[in-house]
């Protein structure tokens, strides 16, 4: 059977499963549409949250980034998991107790202001729409590589599938498809990793393999990798970083941003009790950790594998001939994600770090520049081919990449459509709308959101990568602090909250635009995006944490200068703090 047929079977079977779930889990009320009826088991919700959270970026890109950056990119590992600690202790249980459908619901009620609610809706929509673009383009890449269809055709197929289960089932359909998608993506991610770990270290558990001995050389794997990359002019894989302030703030921005992303928060509204929300956060992290503990192993092993493929006799000996390159390099060359340029005309593939410090060594070896460019994103997707695994594993990776992209896209689309139908239509425009009417509005908003996301996926703005920084920056600087202050302070009032959200939002967005271009239009950056220009060495990607601090400071200062929130709001804060419903009346 051809590889194409195998891929088709795997992807087709997984899609059939998702559609089957869609038919089984139809939503009959707004409660089912927004929060899956509120009766989801905490472990099931943990699994759905893991799929909701782990996007194309986690599945496809993260290991490649860490492979390239080594220790310095550990921020992604700590940042994208540590946010769950904040979520479990600072947000999820209290927002669950509050017991409404959306994130702006809480901000609007707690700060007794339609203005605050609308600011929250705006932040939510900007953060979620930018995030969804990345998922759709990720799905497009997976389709075009594995199913040999045009990018746009692939996107249309994906959109139709998401449309079926998201529009029919709402949160209920999304929850159970996400569980299925988690299973598909985790199997797809770990199987190739297990084989590669076995091949390199003899240890079948990748996270243990990472710290064990490289069978071939008898040296510890990481030491071997350090040695190989050093010979080729790269920085040691395990080398420490000098700009620790930036690494701390970057990690913190990712953590706060994770905790503040609305599509993750609303997953915790689906469990029956406050106690379940706490457990559920723990389960979510367990399921996420299965991938996040495997990723750094995949990163280092794939980097070593790649370099030993290019330099079969070691980095100090000759590189391989271009004509003798392995099949997977040929396959990926077709996609343009691997490129070879024989600069010194010797027919061999020299891969090294083309920096001034290494120039002398390179010239002495007769090298005229780095000849192989490898896109970070292919590392995970090409893993089974690099390790010579059978065709069905490649089919599994295709289904897994699509599962990661689609599960996150569906979660984001639900967050967007519920903000439109619940917060804008029911909350502001037509408060008297019936439950049936609102359910229809929710379905229509979902349909429109899918069309917009698909269109954006087909015509991605050239700045898709930077835009993800914007999504995290906004979640960290505007949404997280507002939610946290709403729970932990009775004194922060509506003026303080709105001023704080706007200050955090504007400072973060302006700082990002200063270095990455105003509205991301190329050539409009005020300063070149290099470390020497950054304020105190803080990169635009790390600024979300600073924006959050500005938000807190402004909100407290403005609140201190203005009146206390009314008594019923203080009672509302009391009531979200205690799981028992009878404690204090919430005014209804």
């Amino acid at each position: 059977m051809s590889q194409f047929a195998i891929n088709l079977i795997f992807v087709g079977a997984s899609f059939a499963l998702y559609i089957g779930i869609a038919i089984w889990a139809r939503a009959g009320s707004t409660k089912e549409f927004y929060v899956a009826g509120g009766g989801v088991n905490p472990i099931t919700n943990g699994m759905a949250t893991a799929a909701d959270w782990m996007s194309a970026a986690s599945f496809i890109s993260m290991a490649g980034l860490i492979a390239a950056g080594g220790y310095a990119y550990s921020s992604f590992l700590m940042g994208w998991t540590g946010g769950y600690v904040l979520l479990a202790m600072l947000l999820a249980p209290y927002l669950r107790k509050f017991g409404k459908f959306t994130v702006p619901d809480f901000i609007g009620d707690r700060f007794y202001s339609t203005g605050a609610r609308l600011v929250a809706v705006a932040c939510l929509i900007i953060a979620s729409v930018t995030y969804v673009i990345g998922q759709m383009t990720g799905a497009g890449v997976a389709f075009s590589r594995f199913l040999e269809v045009e990018n746009d055709t692939g996107l249309m197929i994906a959109a139709v599938v998401v449309f079926m289960y998201a529009v029919m089932g709402g949160m209920k359909g999304i929850t159970y498809t996400q569980v299925a998608q988690y299973v598909v993506l985790i199997i797809a991610y770990t199987i190739p990793a297990v084989f590669i770990s076995l091949q390199l270290t003899g240890n079948p558990i990748p996270p243990l393999g990472l710290f064990s001995t490289h069978t071939e050389s008898g040296m510890p794997l990481l030491q071997k990798l350090d040695e190989v990359v050093r010979e080729l002019g790269f920085q040691d894989y395990t080398a420490d970083v000098s700009n620790k302030l930036n690494m701390v703030l970057f990690t913190l921005s990712l953590m706060i941003g994770t905790a503040g992303l609305p599509h993750v928060i609303i997953r915790f509204f689906t469990v029956p009790k406050v106690a379940d929300a706490r457990w559920s956060a723990g389960w979510a992290l367990v399921f996420i950790a299965l991938l996040y503990l495997t990723a750094p192993a995949v990163a280092s092993m794939a980097r070593l594998n790649l370099l030993t493929t290019i330099y079969p006799a070691g980095p100090t000996a000759e590189a391989i001939h271009y004509d003798e390159r392995p099949d997977w390099i040929r396959t990926w060359e077709n996609t343009g994600l691997i490129r070879f340029n024989d600069k010194n005309g010797d027919g061999r593939i020299q891969l090294y770090n083309d920096v001034p410090a290494f120039q002398e060594t390179a010239e002495a070896r007769g090298w005229a520049g780095n000849e192989l460019t490898v896109n970070n994103d292919i590392l995970v997707l090409a893993n089974p081919e690099i390790a010579n695994l059978p065709g069905w594993v490649i089919g599994l990776i295709a289904a897994g990449g699509l599962a990661a992209a689609l599960s996150t896209a569906a979660g984001l689309l639900l967050a967007i459509s519920s903000a439109v139908s619940h917060d804008l239509i029911k909350g502001s425009i037509n408060p008297n709308i019936s439950d049936k009417g609102e359910l229809l509005a929710a379905r229509i908003s979902m349909g429109v959101a899918i069309v917009v996301a698909t269109w954006l996926g087909m015509n991605p703005p050239g700045f898709a990568a930077q835009v993800v920084a914007l999504a995290f920056g906004i979640a960290a600087a505007s949404i997280f602090p507002a939610l946290m202050m709403g729970i932990f302070s009775k004194r922060v009032n509506s003026k303080g909250a709105i001023a704080g959200m706007l200050a955090g939002l504007i400072s973060t967005v302006v700082y990002i635009f200063l270095y990455l271009g105003w509205f991301f239009i190329p050539g409009t950056a005020t300063f070149a995006n290099v470390e020497a220009n950054w304020l105190f060495g803080i990169s635009p990607l790390s600024f979300g944490a600073v924006g959050a601090m500005i938000n807190f400071a402004v909100a407290f200062a403005v609140s201190a200068m203005t009146e206390e929130p009314p008594q019923e709001i203080q009672d509302l804060v009391e009531s979200v703090r205690f799981p028992r419903g009878a404690g204090v009346a919430t005014g209804h």
């Binding site: 600690v85 395990t238 701390v248 706490r278 503990l293 404690g583």
Partner: protein, 87 residues
Amino acid sequence: MVEHKKNAAAYWKANLKLIWISLAIWALVSYGFGILLRPLLSGIPVGGTDLGFWFAQQGSILTFIGLIFFYAWRMNKLDKEFGLDEE
């Protein structure tokens, strides 16, 4: 009612204390051992590198999981002790 208020205040104080302790550990393993204190831990070898690297790529994640389950277990118990759990 006064009794109830006192009880609620004590519960909230206990929750805040638990959060402070947990977040101190959260920060210590990630920002501390994983980043800022890594040079201090460089003498402790772990599989070809040092303990700081291990915390940055594995140890912190494992600690986070432990922290959340500990917090959930402890809080769910406190809910009952203070009579504030959901029926």
